[in-house]
């Protein structure tokens, strides 16, 4: 899929921010800071991948952060019960898939609006996370796992988790932009009825997307837990808004049918890099929020304004030409 103008714009903006920050902010460009940056954006990037696919079909999944929390709790609980990590991780992914399947069933099986459903499961899954682990926290995960998540390849500059992110991003990107399945997602998002008439299994497709979303949120939960070596019920609370912000910033239409994965990844990196750079410059947290919000609005507003100014100008030129 060719990059629509918007996506190239956001990619360019992201590159510009990275370059400017490396030049202007001392210690932004260091390899250690790069590792921190990647670790910070990891959960958002992962969850944003499947969120993009879901939003392209015109639905939404607000329960991702709670799914993350619940798998994190589950991980702690299983570890407390003496299971080895090698068993726990697959179990957590399966748990994530099941949670996603529940969302998928409510949305496609019962035909409920996804925004409403996932606001409900947002509360439900977070609640269950507290049921599983209560007020406790589990912290004694083995060092070789926690160390791997925070570590870099061969102690160099490339964080281990970056490999995971890049691999999954590639898979999602190819699926969305270069497979018949990806085509059907755009069709569903733009006009579900026409997609149905074209033989696309609308409900089934959406169902599996929710399963994928749950699984990825589960994976994010595992990595989060290992990164902070702390399994807690409130892990990742509020992450859903950050993910939605990144996806929207990446140019995905909330009404479905539009958007690209490179755009979304650029959106994720842009937000994280800005926050990181501004924090290094001791810009306060409130200002960070204002910047995030303004960026979100401006990113859509400015191209719109530019194009409307262009058309007005064009029309005026035509009128003048006709007057002579």
């Amino acid at each position: 899929m060719e990059l629509a103008s918007w996506d190239s714009l956001i990619v360019l903006l992201t590159v510009a921010v990275l370059v400017i920050a490396s030049l202007a902010v001392p210690s932004f460009g260091t390899s250690r800071n790069f590792t921190f940056l990647v670790l910070d954006l990891m959960p958002i990037a992962l969850v944003a991948l499947t969120m993009t696919l879901i939003v392209v079909t015109g639905e939404i999944d607000l329960s991702v952060a709670s799914t993350l929390g619940l798998t994190s709790s589950l991980m702690g609980w299983l570890w407390n019960n003496g299971l080895p990590i090698e068993t726990i991780v697959p179990l957590c992914l399966v748990a994530g898939a099941i949670l996603g399947a529940c969302n998928g069933f409510l949305v496609t099986g019962l035909g409920l609006p996804s925004l409403a459903v996932t606001i409900g499961t947002l509360a439900l899954y977070r609640g269950l996370a507290f049921v599983v682990l209560g007020d406790g926290a589990v912290a004694d995960f083995p060092w070789n796992y926690t160390g791997w998540v925070t570590g870099t390849i061969g102690g160099g500059a490339v964080p281990n988790v970056l490999v995971v992110i890049v691999a999954l991003a590639l898979v999602s990107g190819v699926v969305l932009h270069a497979t018949p399945f990806g085509r059907s997602l755009y069709a569903i998002g733009a006009n579900a009825q026409a997609a149905h008439f074209s033989g696309i299994p609308v409900a089934r497709t959406k169902f599996w997307l929710y399963v994928a979303s749950g699984t990825i949120a589960g994976l994010a939960g595992v990595l989060w837990t290992l990164r902070y070596s702390s399994a807690r019920a409130d892990n990742g609370a509020g992450l859903e808004l950050a993910v939605v912000a990144a996806v929207l910033l990446g140019g995905v239409s909330i009404f479905g049918g539009k958007g690209t994965l490179p755009g979304v990844l650029a959106g994720v990196v842009l937000l994280a890099a800005l926050q990181n750079a501004l924090r290094l410059q001791d810009v306060s947290g409130q200002a960070l929020n204002v910047v995030t919000g303004a960026l979100l609005v401006l990113s859509v507003l400015l191209p719109n304004l530019a194009s409307s100014i262009r058309t007005t100008w064009h029309r005026r030129k035509l009128r003048q030409a006709a007057a002579h």
Partner: protein, 334 residues
């Protein structure tokens, strides 16, 4: 309790402190860079604490900086710690939102030569150099039970309104309260429920309502959190439960003045939060100057607060809490 297991294995990579020994005669360096990282910014309690820190840093001729998240989450604190490492601060004063989650980052900071002092809410022992404890956990738990017993007249139902279900310090105090209540002198006092207001004003408000509806014979609500005690007092003072039930716990005098005056609250306690931040700065300066290393028995002087001795596990205890009543509340302003 909140912390569950010790995170022995999670610190495999932590260097701890290089085997330096303390030099009691070292002079305190000036120009040190202090960064305060409370649980959450714009929380009135944290603000009072860090304001004390600012005063102390000024006295020490250091550079003071305050950073922190808005959401009281451990993950955002980690990002801030990472930033502070990049900026090569000399001392990080931190109130941990999760004792373990901040650990790897704090250890990275210590490897980079930064001294870490925790205050208010401790980080794991293995990843900080010293902890400023407002009062001993035991002492706070005991005094909460004592106040409740006095207010209830020695018998009847009491309930606890806590912060979030996994707040480290709250849970530790509640544990102590429970073991205190098991003692024979409190046999007639019955703890019927622990509710959680999540340090959210409204949720605490609703939880207080729920407690009173579920337990009509309730005599005292003990809320060991400043948000909870204020919300519960506000509810009771405006409802027809006023006079039947009384509130106590840990609160800020400025927030509670109104309810002490209207009789909803007879007595509550707190230490001076500003002193915690103040003490933390002096401890940090002593650490960064090599005067102390955080071992038990080392001593240092903390400005107007006088001399302190480090206790077991690097703990430095501020002192006993102050009890506030209608008689003395007007003498305090924080």
């Amino acid at each position: 309790g909140g912390t569950t297991k010790d995170s022995a294995s999670s610190n495999g990579g932590a260097a701890g402190q290089p085997g330096a020994s303390a030099d009691p005669n070292a002079s305190i360096k000036t120009g040190l860079k202090f960064a305060y990282l409370p649980k959450q910014l714009n929380n009135p309690y944290s603000d009072v604490e860090t304001a004390g820190g600012k005063v102390a840093v000024g006295e020490l001729k250091g550079e003071y900086k305050l950073v922190g998240p808005h959401d009281a989450s451990a993950s955002s604190q980690v990002s801030y710690i990472n930033t502070l490492i990049q900026q090569q601060q000399d001392v990080i004063v931190v109130a941990a939102n999760d004792p373990n989650a901040v650990c790897p980052s704090l250890n990275q900071a210590r490897q980079a030569g930064i001294k870490v002092v925790s205050f208010d809410s401790d980080a794991s022992k293995a990843c900080r150099d010293a902890f400023i404890n407002q009062a001993t956990t035991q002492g706070i738990g005991e005094s909460l039970v004592k106040m409740a017993s006095e207010l209830a007249g020695g018998e009847g139902e009491i309930a606890v309104l806590s912060a979030t279900p996994n707040a480290t310090n709250q849970n530790a105090w509640i544990e102590v309260m429970k073991s205190e209540l098991a003692k024979p002198e409190y046999a007639k006092l019955k703890l019927v429920k622990t509710a959680y207001g999540n340090d959210d004003d409204q949720k605490s408000f609703q939880e207080a309502q729920g407690l009173l509806q579920s337990y009509p014979n309730l005599k005292v609500i003990v809320s060991p959190t400043t948000v909870g005690i204020a919300a519960a007092s506000r509810y009771v003072s405006s409802s027809n439960y006023k006079g039947k039930v009384t509130i106590t716990g840990l609160g800020l005098p400025n927030q509670m003045r109104e309810y002490v005056k209207d009789g909803t609250v007879k007595k509550f306690a707190l230490w001076n939060p500003a002193d915690i931040g103040y003490l933390a700065a002096y401890a940090g300066a002593a650490l960064a100057s090599g005067k102390i290393t955080g071992k038990q028995g080392e001593t240092f002087t903390a400005g107007k607060l006088g001399e302190y001795t480090i206790g077991a596990d690097g703990e430095i205890v501020l002192g006993p809490p102050t009890e506030f009543t209608a008689q003395n509340i007007d003498q305090f302003d924080f």
